[in-house]
């Protein structure tokens, strides 16, 4: 047999499982319990009246919209090493590197764009970044636009977003 094929044991062959009725009973018990609770006191249902009411539980580790950070001297922290683009599972980061001439470093992105329609917000880019240049700490969870192109965030837009949790600059090398 092919080595890649793994045989897993089949569950649910017993008499009780084949009857289905006990499982249906267990499920319906939970459903009716919630129905009873909700009907008896509708104010206790945990709902957020979005968008009038905004969420308050967005924490530091929430993966919001991306931003590009700055160095201490307010220049772009990204060095266009392509680590994020390499790690990205949906290939939605588009970088064009160029020579950096201001003496701070050798390399910087000419273009840095994220197609947020293709992005799955997994945060791998943040994990991969060796320069702490890309973060998902803006706290922004909704993005609207009129055309598909509006969702491709370019370098300037990404640099303009502010971090929502205090830490503003890149802390690479500290």
């Amino acid at each position: 047999m092919d080595k890649r094929i793994k045989t897993v044991p089949r569950y649910g062959t017993g008499f009780k499982d084949r009857l289905y009725l006990p499982a249906i009973y267990e499920g319906m018990k939970i459903t009716f319990k919630h129905l009873k609770d909700n009907v008896s006191d509708s104010n206790a249902i945990d709902v957020l009246e979005y968008p009038e009411e905004q969420p308050t539980d967005i924490t530091e580790r929430y993966r919001g919209l991306h931003r590009l950070t700055h160095r201490e001297d307010d220049t772009v922290a990204c060095v266009a090493c392509f680590m994020c683009a390499t790690a990205c599972p949906s290939n939605c980061i588009f970088i064009e590197a160029t020579e950096r001439t201001d003496g701070v470093d050798e390399k910087m992105p000419q273009r840095f764009a994220i197609d947020t329609l293709e992005c799955i917000f997994c945060g791998y880019c943040v994990e991969a970044c060796p320069c702490d240049a890309i973060r998902m700490d803006t706290g922004i969870f909704s993005l609207t636009g009129n055309a598909r192109e509006d969702f491709v965030l370019e370098k300037e837009q990404l640099l303009a977003y502010k971090g929502a949790f205090g830490e503003e600059k890149s802390i690479a090398g500290k």
């Binding site: 266009a80 090493c81 392509f82 390499t86 590197a97 160029t98 020579e99 050798e106 390399k107 090398g173």
Partner: protein, 463 residues
């Protein structure tokens, strides 16, 4: 000299007596880390990375300065040797800036590879204690030098002193301050200078042309043959198709072939990749107007029917042998004259005594072998001149002219696009008569017609 038997990691090998141990180990696929040894440059013994254990010797020995002996027992792995390698690697990396994010070598860097294979230690030196040297120095000849990243293996200096004999590079300074440099005010300047980029095992010498264009791990390397001249140097074409873009070539790298080019290629050939995507003829042009493919082909058919007696076909000597053969068949069926004037492809100034041939036509030998005429008689009246990418096309007078062009820049009644050599597969015969197969490298989103596809279309007209 008779062969002898040695044992490496318990495996018996029969080897020639006069071959260096490192060469034997490399040939038999034993992983031996090495910076300074290179097959083309020989041993230097300065990097000390290729340490192996030899039974009966007190200390580990460098494999690059050891000759095999009858019954020698060599161990390439083991606790002792791994520890030695780790310590040597730590010394190599002691002043390394670890700026992999901005280094073009990242991904094909021996320091990275060996650190993952043999290193994996925690650094004992703080970044602030490292010795700083000059970075991004333009050495000339499209080579960039970063002195901090250098491991002083001297491959580059040995290349300029032993192979090109131009002696531009040297190691100056002592101890921590030793670095590769040119003489003050002098530049790296020879026709093979960019080979030092491939020779450099780390990111000290990088190509200015390739600088920051792509990360190497995105590239696909396809073996091919350089079309710069009739030498037929073996190369790798490194290309990549980025999302939403077309397949693009980013660089040529030499591929080892001891019969032809050894380990190297010339700079002209190396940079000739640019021609594959610059100024390409992508649309059909009929009477100076861009037209759709079907309009162009019907115009071609009308022209062909108009001149069934006096057709001349010009074949470029850069086409593959199979393409030339199909043009021969076509000219026979159309009763046309097939010629390939060669004068404009010969450039005395380009040639040298190593890898650059004055014959710039990559497949000149195939023209000779197939017996295609290279003389076009002056008196002959040409009704329809059909050129397959030949350089002389603009100079030849005719009633009507059709040209199949890979690149823009000529004028004709009908101009049709043609696939470049990287987009077709075929055989090249180099000037020494060595036949070499070129794979199709580039797969365009919208493929252009190759010579053979055009010939098939033209044969359909005739019948």
């Amino acid at each position: 000299m008779s062969d002898i038997t040695i044992t490496v990691d318990g495996k018996e090998l029969t080897v020639p007596r006069d071959e260096l141990l490192i060469k034997i180990l490399n040939k038999n696929n034993f992983a031996i880390p090495q910076f300074c040894y290179h097959d083309a440059l020989g041993m230097d013994g300065n990097c000390r990375m290729c340490m192996v254990e030899i039974e009966g010797q007190k200390r580990p020995q460098i494999a690059c300065n050891t000759l095999p002996k009858e019954g020698m027992e060599v161990r390439t792995r083991g606790e002792k040797i791994d520890a030695t390698r780790q310590k040597i690697l730590e010394l190599e990396l002691i002043n390394h800036p670890v700026d992999c994010p901005i280094c073009d070598q990242a991904g094909e860097c021996k320091l990275q590879d060996y650190y993952m294979d043999y290193g994996l230690y925690d650094s004992n030196i703080a970044k602030s204690d490292k010795v700083h040297q000059r970075k991004h120095i333009d050495l000339g000849s499209e080579v960039m030098l970063d002195q901090e990243r250098c491991v002083l293996c001297a491959r580059c200096t040995r290349f300029t002193s032993d192979i090109t004999k131009t002696h531009e590079l040297g190691i100056i300074g002592r101890g921590d301050h030793a670095c590769v440099s040119t003489m003050p005010g002098k530049k790296l300047d020879n026709a093979y200078a960019m080979n030092v980029v491939d020779l450099c095992p780390v990111g000290a010498l990088t190509s200015k042309d390739f600088r920051f264009k792509q990360r190497v791990w995105f590239l696909t390397s396809t073996p091919s043959i350089c079309h710069g001249c009739a030498k037929g140097c073996n190369i790798f074409i490194d290309h990549n198709r980025e999302k939403y873009k077309d397949d693009t070539v980013y660089r040529f790298r030499p591929r080892e072939n001891q019969q032809i080019n050894g380990h190297f290629i010339c700079d002209t050939g190396r940079l000739s990749y640019k021609e594959l995507q610059e100024k390409r003829q992508l649309e059909s042009i009929f009477e100076a107007e861009p037209v759709e493919m079907d309009v162009a082909t019907s115009a071609l058919k009308t022209m062909l029917k108009m001149h069934l007696k006096d057709i001349v076909i010009l074949a470029s000597p850069e086409l593959y042998k199979e393409e030339l053969e199909s043009l021969m068949r076509l000219s026979e069926r159309l009763n046309a004259t097939l010629v390939c004037p060669m004068e404009s492809y010969y450039d005395e100034r380009f040639g040298d005594d190593w890898l650059k041939s004055p014959q710039r036509a990559a497949n000149a030998k195939a023209i000779e072998q197939l017996g295609i005429s290279t003389e076009l008689s002056q008196e002959q009246h040409i009704g329809l001149l059909m050129s397959f990418d030949h350089r002389d096309f603009p100079e030849i007078k005719s009633d009507h002219s059709v040209t199949f062009q890979t690149h823009i820049g000529v004028d004709a009644d009908l101009i049709l696009p043609l696939a470049a050599y990287s987009e077709v597969a075929g055989t090249l015969v180099n000037e020494d008569g060595i036949e070499q197969w070129c794979k199709q490298v580039i797969h365009r989103k919208e493929p252009l017609y190759s010579v053979r596809e055009w010939v098939r279309l033209l044969e359909g007209v005739e019948s």
